[in-house]
């Protein structure tokens, strides 16, 4: 049994017929073909699948596609056109906030919400704000610096 869904992803309507059990992250990756959103665990811990769902960050592995029907989603691909970078993307680049890059899309999406709630976070607040995203490469320090740097360039302070 499938159910029709329509989700606005990065401003574009994506319609499909999906099994109700399908996880949103699979819809984003398989149906919409946007593979920037990653699957890094199966227990909602790692945060690699973090997207913005109706304006707030969500782990797309812990939402059914059918739950999100009618909602709007922003993924890493929607943060910028890939050429004119979002300040967070620029800051992750400038601060060496990534190594293998697999956690990076989720990390940037989580940081994006963090800055929307708190435009001038302290390093400690950034660390807490990223507690739902695991990075195995960087030891987090340059990620914290990147978010701090992005906050400055986005006018936070």
């Amino acid at each position: 049994m499938t159910i029709p869904v329509e989700i606005t992803i990065n401003g574009k309507a994506c319609a499909g017929e999906v099994e109700p059990r399908q996880l949103l992250v699979h819809f984003i990756r398989e149906n919409a073909g946007l593979t920037g959103t990653k699957v890094g665990c199966d227990t909602s811990q790692c945060g690699t699948c973090t997207v913005q769902l109706d304006g707030v960050s969500a782990k797309a592995c812990t939402v059914l596609t059918v739950q999100a029907s009618g909602s709007s989603v922003t993924t890493i691909e929607g943060l910028s056109d890939g050429v004119d970078l979002h300040p967070l993307q620029e800051a992750f680049w400038n601060n060496h906030g990534l190594q293998c890059g697999f956690c990076t899309p989720g990390m940037i999406m989580a940081a994006n919400e963090l800055l929307s709630r708190n435009p001038s976070p302290s390093r400690e607040e950034i660390r807490h704000g990223l507690e739902g995203n695991i990075c195995r490469c960087t030891g987090y320090q340059n990620i914290v610096s990147a978010v701090e740097d992005a906050a400055k360039s986005m006018g936070g302070r």
Partner: protein, 288 residues
């Protein structure tokens, strides 16, 4: 990572949700999904039917009510953590909400889903029990209320009938002058509470007139620390009084304690005393 097949129904109203639950044996309610979907992804849960109540607007938000606030079952942890009303009437609930999971979990996870899941390692059931909250429930026969203390009936078991829907939670205001605190020993991986302790201390004339102390994470359901409360009543909340009261929690933990590779039953019991003491200290400092 790949849930088993389900039938999905989106309910437009509480009445429709009750009807769908009645019509579909073994159906489960789906709110934010942050308790149920993780189990389904590992195929540890495989309900035949999910009734999605996530879009029922009537179940969302915090409102002032007689003597306190009413929190819709679909209100997210993030909304509670950021709610001015919660801050005014029961700031300890906001304090706990801010410690649930991580930001993305708090954005999607709901208070109703969290308490219905009845995981003793969750934060909100502990705090709601300490606050003396009431859970408002709608079923085929109409509405009823369940005291927070009676809601969880066992590990991952609650007092709801199969076809009842938790609609809201009524939280009485913490009296002015009272101090309340929730302190948590977070599991480093899961971020659930290894031990969580909630304390609400009402003070008049320099002595404690009443105390409500509840411990989560140790037993199958939130445990009221009656001996601690008794020891506090009438005390001056001095450090030595708090020490003695917290030590009494051992006498309140008589059930079957939780135990796992990270924290044994014995350790959890010991930490209950430590975290109760810390909650008491924080609550006492906020009282008056």
């Amino acid at each position: 990572m790949f849930p088993a097949q389900i039938t999905y129904r989106r309910a437009g109203s509480v009445a429709e949700a009750v009807q769908l639950l009645s019509d579909n044996e073994g159906a489960k309610l789906l709110a934010g999904g942050h308790s149920l979907l993780p189990l389904m992804k590992l195929r540890l849960a495989a309900p035949a039917t999910l009734v999605d109540i996530g879009r029922i607007e009537a179940l969302k938000g915090v409102s002032a009510s007689d003597g306190g606030i009413t929190i819709g079952a679909l209100t997210t942890h993030a909304e509670i953590a950021g709610s001015d009303l919660v801050q005014q009437h029961a700031s300890v609930l906001a304090e706990a909400a801010a410690l649930v999971g991580d930001p993305a979990v708090r954005n999607r996870g709901t208070i109703g889903g969290s308490v219905s899941h009845a995981d003793p390692a969750s934060d909100q059931p502990t705090v709601l029990t300490a606050l003396g909250a009431t859970f408002n429930v709608t079923g085929p026969g109409g509405d009823r209320s369940i005291a927070a203390a009676d809601f969880a009936t066992g590990l991952l078991e609650n007092a709801l009938e199969e076809n009842e829907v938790l609609t809201s939670i009524s939280v009485p205001s913490v009296p002015s002058g009272a101090g309340a605190a929730y302190v948590k020993f977070s599991h480093p991986a899961s971020r659930y509470a290894v031990v969580g302790a909630a304390a609400i201390l009402t003070v008049s004339g320099g002595t404690c007139s009443s105390a409500s102390v509840v411990v989560g994470g140790v037993e199958a359901t939130p445990a009221r620390a009656s001996s601690v409360e008794a020891a506090l009543a009438g005390s001056d909340l001095s450090d030595s009084a708090l020490d003695a009261a917290a030590a009494a929690v051992a006498g309140d933990l008589n059930g079957d304690p939780m135990s796992d590779v990270f924290a044994s039953a014995e350790y959890r019991r010991a930490m209950a005393s430590v975290y109760v003491r810390r909650a008491l200290g924080a609550a006492a400092s906020r009282a008056g």
